[in-house]
Structures are given as structure tokens and as C-alpha cells.
Amino acid sequence: MMRLALGTLRRHRGAYLGSFLAAFLAVALLAGAGLLLFSVLTAKPPADRFAAAAAVVSGDREVTLTTTKKKKKNKVKSKTKSERLTGAGTLPADLAGRIAAVPGVVDAVADYAFPVVFPVRGEDDAPVVGHGWASAALTPYTLREGRPPAAGEMVIDADLAARGGLSVGDQVQITTRTGVRSVRVSGVAAPDGRDGLAAQGALFLADRQVPAVSGLDGPTAIAVLAEPATDLAALRAVAGDAPVFTGADKVRGDLPGALPDYIGPISIFGFTIGITAFAAVFVLTGTVALGVRQRLRDLALLRTAGATPGQLRRLLGLESVVLAAVAAVPAMPVGVVVAGLVAARFRALGAVPAQFTVAFNVPVLICAAVAGVLVTFVAARIAGRRAVRIAPTQALTETATAPRGGMLVRVVAALVTAGGAVAVLIFVPLGGPLGMGMSFVSSALLLCAVAALGPVLARGLTAVVGRVAALGGVTGWLAGTVARAESRRVAAVAVPLVLMFAINATMLLNSSLLGELTGDEHAARSAPATAQVTGPGGLPLSVAGDLAALPGVTGAAATLPTRAIVAQGGKPEDYPSQGLFTAGREAAIDLDVRDGQLGGEGTFAASAYLVEQHGWRVGDEVPIWLADGYQVTLRLAAVYQRARGFGEMALPADLVAAHDPRGLVAAVALRYDGDVAAGIHQRWPALRVTPAVAAARAGDAQNQQGAWELMVVISLGFAAIAVVNTFAIAASSRRREYADLRLAGATAGQVHRMATREAAITVTVGLVLGAAVTAVVVGAFSTAQDGIFRLIVDPVTYGGMLAGIAALGMAAGALPIRAVLRRRDLPAVADDH
């Protein structure tokens, strides 16, 4: 059996090239995505800020909710769900003293960590974190020059000093949520053997000044210096609810912004693996099926020689395993390269932290290879399920045909997948954060339905398109008739085109629709404002208050981007939100409030989407966790519509400023008459006054951007392989048909024209089906966004995709035939026997 499998593979090299390429691509992508996933899952925090400490007592870093449900038989089921905070919770200020009193503890050092806007950022755009000088010993940072900071002074790390060209004695302006200060550099410090820590620049202020500058009411962490045999249980008892970390976990006590966040990338790379597997099964089934069709006569001959369908099935399976195993060998190193390229792109997009590197791991590569082999095997099983039952007598006929039938399976598969797609489109609120992902899922399901019903759909469409083609003379007629008769072949070639068009069109159109809507909403939101005031890295809330109080200003609205958590069904859910400060008698921001009224002590506003999700009503008291885990209960005062690019909640600005460690205003919208701008320039030279600023990108924008790019590239790669390959197989297996045509009196030119027209029919069928899938998904998505049904969304993108895919399809259809049949050739009478 093995020898036979190897023999057929060698003999039908051409037919298997496509499957080989697809298997190669599948393994390479699975290996790449697998390595990336492995790397993000095992990524070590870049540096241990608390290396010198034995243990770290940390403030809250996540919100955890526990729900208990009583079930039958007195069983109680409790579920615990948590959501990470974007800020850091604080500890009681006196806790350090109590910890220091625990036996064996040498010292307890409080760390007040807070983000600072500094003229330069750290290595790879790392944020700059401020601390008190006492906590420098925890890493430890030691002075290279200068002296420890006194009031109004600071020590910066050597890396920041080099980047900013700063030296002892320089005055530097720093911004925190409490204001802008000019601070003198009193010294330069560095950890052992390095200029600074990876992923965070450090700045140390005099300890006395820290609470005032940071706005913190307590330390974000307390590092414990202890003798080796210290009793951790006693420490935990003193710490109470606050978690105590030791070993590698100590970094979890660091400021969240200084720690890499891999939640987004983990889901992206996991998703990538899923999509790759889907596309691979999809494309491999098609190419393997075509390869099997080419060899029907062979299979029939084997049946005559006494092979049972089971043996043929094993033969096909073995062939596919050998093929995929051979493809996996070069694919694994390519996977490593792919992982590197994707990581580079994601770093550039900011979807992974700058210091992220790809870990090399052999077991992951082997798993990818095994998965690729399995997928190819499954594809071969699907493709060969009916072919192996070919009747032995088919070997004796001129053109072997696979047993027909299997229609029921196809119809059932199509109904199930199409039903799933419709269910997703109807029941999932596409207007929400899941919209993009779910529209992808529904288009993938619809694609499966199209693939299952491919021959039937192709037959119907070729009947129509073929008739149109027949108007173009005898070659058009011939192309139409042949295409109609060979609808399976048309379907095999058209389905990859459908895949390519539908996946990419839905993703691109939906995201461009979202971008457009976000831009529109942002413009509408800021329409009332005369100008937007922004500062480098943001401005303190107090400045926004001063701006609002300028003479001539009739209205002001300051926004502080943050994230806030609300509970939904016992699960804390994190939403992009804004701290909103409004002043003046005229509104400077128009959120399109549908219900209630903005403003008022202890109130917040929420988007219509969020209100609908949670079933809130104006006047409801809602518990909300702010960025540092501080829980506050606010009354819902207003429901607004224009949430895109803004956030789902508008919270009191002072609350956000106090509880988001960054807590800076991103932009102040001002409404004024007269020459207010000149006054602002004079008083705050660093601020910019512009008529409008671009919409803030939604929180996960860079992650999504990376994910979509990755998906578009993957599906384009697979589909291009599938298209070229299926066309090439279809064209080369038709040598004989072309020879017959030549004998019947067709010139080579006529055969070329026929083939070109056939390709045109096939491409048209593919694009029509692709456009249909796209129309359903984009139409539903668009309707869910703002009630307007759109099909094309972006004519340039749409037209470009149509033209690009048509060009690829036409080239793939016409070129292989040109290679088979040259214009000056005589008819080949060498009848293949």
C-alpha cells in the first residue's frame, strides 16, 4: 500500500502540487500562529521591578465577582469571574508599618507607582512610571551620578537621561493627573548592569512629594524585605484581602500599564489558528477532490484489480498523509519566519508590547505539522468519500465519472450552516463589540453552505451566465454549454473565489463601515464646539477647568479616556468609557442624548447599547468599578446614542481623574466667541488649539487592525493557491477535450477564446455568489449599526476587490490553458492511448 501511495504521488505530481502547496501553507501558518500563541502564553514579564524584594503585597489588580446558584439537591454552584483592571488599586497607607512588624520582616517599602507624561518615552515607546525614591531599592536602582531627590527634584533612569539628552541640573516639565510641574534632575540612576528596565522608564521623586504628585491615597504595592525563613502565613494574615506575591509572580504587583497585556494577542492568535484550520480544510478539500477526480480511472482500475472501497480509502488517506508530511518539512521553518513577521507587524501596530519576542519551541512546530497532516487527511477523506465507491467497470469507459448522489448530505450540510449563519445574524447584537467577529463567523458559515451546494448553485448560475456568453458567438456559446455541462468543475473553481471575495469583502467593508460611522459620530459629537484643545500626552483636569473659565468661553467639555467595569450576569465586563467634565451655559459636546439629561452629582450616562444590554432605566443606581478597582454607585442620568469612538459610559470627570492612574484629559472641546485661542496660546504655550481632532481610536482598535490584516492575508493566500491550483488542474486535465475540439475544426485561437470565456463565466459565478454572501452579512451588519441597509459601503474597496479577484481568476483561468495549448500548435492527434 505504501509503495502504491508513493508511486501515485510521484506520477501525479502535477495534480498534487496544489494540495501540497495548501498543506504547506496550512502547516506554516499553524506553526506560526502556534509559536505566537505559545510565546504570548509563556511570555515572561520583561523585568522584575521588585527583584530585591522577598514578597510583594499588591493592591487590587482585578475585579472578581462570585455568584452562587442554588441547584437541585441542595447543591450550591459558585462561579468566580474576574476582569483585569487597567489601573492599580491602592493599599491602606498604614499597612506598610503593620507588615514591618511581622516577625522576620526586615523592612516593608511602600511603592507609589503612577504614570507620568515625560518629554520622552522609554525604550520601544515604553511608558514612564513615577515612584518615590525609597522604592528605588526594590529593584534596586543605584545612583550613577548626582544625589537623591529633594522636594522639587527627581532622579531619572539612565535610559531616559540618554533619550532626552538630560543631565543633572536640567529642569524638566512632567505632567500627572494632579498637574504640570517643572522638576529639576538631581541624579541619574540605573539597575545593575543596565540603563533601565525593559518596558518601563523610571522616575523617582522625593517620598514626601509622591502622594501630592501622584494623587494616590495609598501605595499601589508594598515590597517586603525579609529573612529567608519568614512565615508567609503571618504576612498573609496581616495583608488581609490583598494578595501576596512571591517569586516570578512579584511583577503582578507592578503598575498594569508597565506590564505587557497579552489578553488581546492570545485571542487573536487563537482565532488565527481556528481560521487557518477552517480555510485549510476548505481549500484542501477542494484541491484534493479535484486531484481525486483526475485519478478516477486509476481508482477504477484498482477496483478492477480487486481493491475494495476500504482499501482505496486507505490508499487516498495514506497518500494525503505522505503528502502533508513532506509539505510539513519545509513548512515548519517557514512557520518560524511567519511568526517573526507577524510579531514585527503586531509590534508596529502596538497590538503586542514592543519587547515581545517569538519563542522557539519544537513541540509546537511538531504539533502544527501533525495538525496539518490531520487536516489534509480529513480533507482527503471528505473528498474521497464517494470516489472510492467507483464501479470497477468505469475503468473500461473513456471518461470515468464518480458516482453521483450525496445530494442529501450536501443539502443538509448547506441548510445547517446557512441556518447557523442566519441565527448568528439575527440573534447576536451585531452593533455591539462582538459584531465584527460574529459577522466573520456568519460569513464563514455561509461559505460552507455555498461550498456544500456549490455544484447546484453553479449549475443554476452558469445556465444564466452561459446564455449571456452565448451572445458572443460560437466560442461563447461553446464555453457556456461546456460550463453548464460541467457545473461541478465550475463550482470547484468558483468556490475558492467565493471564499476569497466574501471573507475579505465582509471584513474590509464592515471595518470601513465602522470607521466611517465612528468618524461621522465623532464629527457630530464635536459639531457644537468651536475648537478642540489638546496637550502633549494629555492635560490635567484642573487645566480643563481653567480653560472653561476663560472669558469668552460659553461652553466646555473635557474628556478623560478610561475603562470602567460593570457586572453583567455575575461577570465583570470592561468597557471603554470617558470621564466627562462639562461647563458653561452652552453644550460643547453633542452625545445625542435620547433619554434623561447629562450631568448632576453622582450620576453617569451610558450608551443606548449598554443600557439595552443591561436593561437599565434612567434613575437606576448602578455599581461601577473604576480603573483602580474602586467601586462607586452612580445613578443613570442619561442615555446617549453617539458612543462610537467615545465609549459606553460617561462618568464624572473628577472621579475618573482620581481613580484612573493616568487620569488626564485627552481633549477639551470649547465653544467661544472672539479671540480665545490667542489667550490660550499665551497662557499655555504647549497646548494646541485646532478646529477638530481625529476620533480617538476605540480601545482595541490596534488589536483588531492586526487581526483583520492577518485574516485578510491568510484568506488571500489560501484562496489564491486554491484558485490557481484548481484552474491549473482543470486546464491540464482537459488536454484531451481541447485536442478533440481542434480535431472538430477549432483553431487554437478559438480554443483560447473559449477557455477565456469559460474562465469569465466561472469568475462571474464566483463573484456573484461571493457578492451574495457579502450582501447578506454586510447588509445585516450595517442594519444592526444604524438601521440603514447598505450593500457596497465603500465603492472603491468593493470595486477594487471585484477587479482584483476577477483579474486573478482570469489569469489563473487563461494562463494554464495557454501553457497547454500554444497558438501555432497543430492539433494533437496523439490520442492518449
Partner: protein, 253 residues
Amino acid sequence: MTETVVEVIDVTKSYAGGAGVRALDGVSVGFATGTFCAVMGPSGSGKSTLLHCAAGLDRPDSGRVLLAGQEISRLREPKLTEARRRRVGFVFQSYNLMDSLSVWHNVLLPQRLAGVRPDRDWAREVMRRVGLAGRENDRPGQLSGGQRQRVALARALAGRPEVIFADEPTGALDISAGREVLALLRDAVDGFGDLGSRSGERSGTAVIMVTHDPAAAAWADRVVFLADGRIVTELADPTAEKVAAQMTAVSAR
């Protein structure tokens, strides 16, 4: 007096590879209008090559081929195809029908490709004569081998060719199906009793048939024997026995 429809003059043809074997070595032969000529010879004698060169399916290395007075040996594609489809019909062992077209469309295909309005009445008449009236909408795949070969013959005849080239037309058929096809070829030469002609004149086409079967050759008016790329002898008014005896003699050389 009959005129010559295909004239092969001093044609040489070698194939690359196989140490440059000469398939045809200075062959000259003429085929008259309205006659049925069989070409015989042992395997590798060059009979198929002769047929291909005479039909314009292959280009001789030297020498000339006249098809109805037109020199075709130096024509280039697509002129060659145009000349061929105007004057020639083919019936090959492997039928060479388009599987994706119906029988009727197969029959009309050469005329459509030539861009002329198909003579549907004549095509229907031809279908009737080959005994396939009523099967027009079937696919070739649904027919038996003998029926398929009759479709191929109907296709060749539908274009009113001056000459039909047949390469082992009965090679894949059983004896009775083969006999039917040969009888139809014979009828075509004899002008179907002149029923199909537009004018009163004799309309029979010439048939040039390569075969290795003496019984098939016996249907011809004349048999040409080839060996080693040369014409060695020919036989008029053949019978199966005479042909078989001659073949044995030729093969023994």
C-alpha cells in the same frame, strides 16, 4: 474520369527521438474523389503518419500535400485548420466527441466553428442515415461505442466534406458495430444513393481509412500497403482473403 482529391507527393517525415526514425520515406500517392481507399501495413509502417500528413494534422518534413488542389503542407495555423474544416471530416478510433455537448451539438460543431450557418436539414438527414434519429439530445457518454462512432461519422458527413479520414474507426468496436460503421462509410462514398445531393451530380466523398483489419479493408475500393515508411504495393477490388495474404507477405519482408 475521377479527379484526385488528396495528392501526397514525395513526402518525408521523421520524428525526433528514437534515433530519428523515418516514419515516411518519400511517399507519393493520390486518392480519387468518391472512392474508398484503405491504408494498411504492419505496426510502425507509417500508415497513421501518412494519414495525418495527408489530412493536414501533421506537417511533412519535405514533399507536398495537395488537398482539393490547394497546397496545405506549407500552410500555417490557423489557415491550416480553416482549410481542413472546409474540406475534411475525421473519424477516429477514440471518437473524439465533446462529452459536454449533446449529440446534436457535436454534429453541428465543425460548421459552427467555421462560422457558417449549419445545414440542419442535411444534418438531420445524416442522423437518420446513421440510425441515430431521436438521440439528438443525448450526451455521447450515454451511447454505446458503435453509436458514438456513428455520431462521429454523422459529424464528419454533416459538413459535406470532400474527404473523410478514418483512423482505425472500428478499432474499439465489436464486429457487428464495426460492420455498421464500415457500411455507412461505404454508403457515404457511394453518395447515399445521391439523395443528399443538392444538384444532380454525384456527391460521394472520398474515404481514406487506416486499418489493420483485412475484413475492414475489404470494404474499400483500393488498398495501399505501407512498410517502413514506403508504399510497397496496392490492391484494387480487395477481398478479405486477398488483403490478408498480402499483409502476410508485407509483414514478412
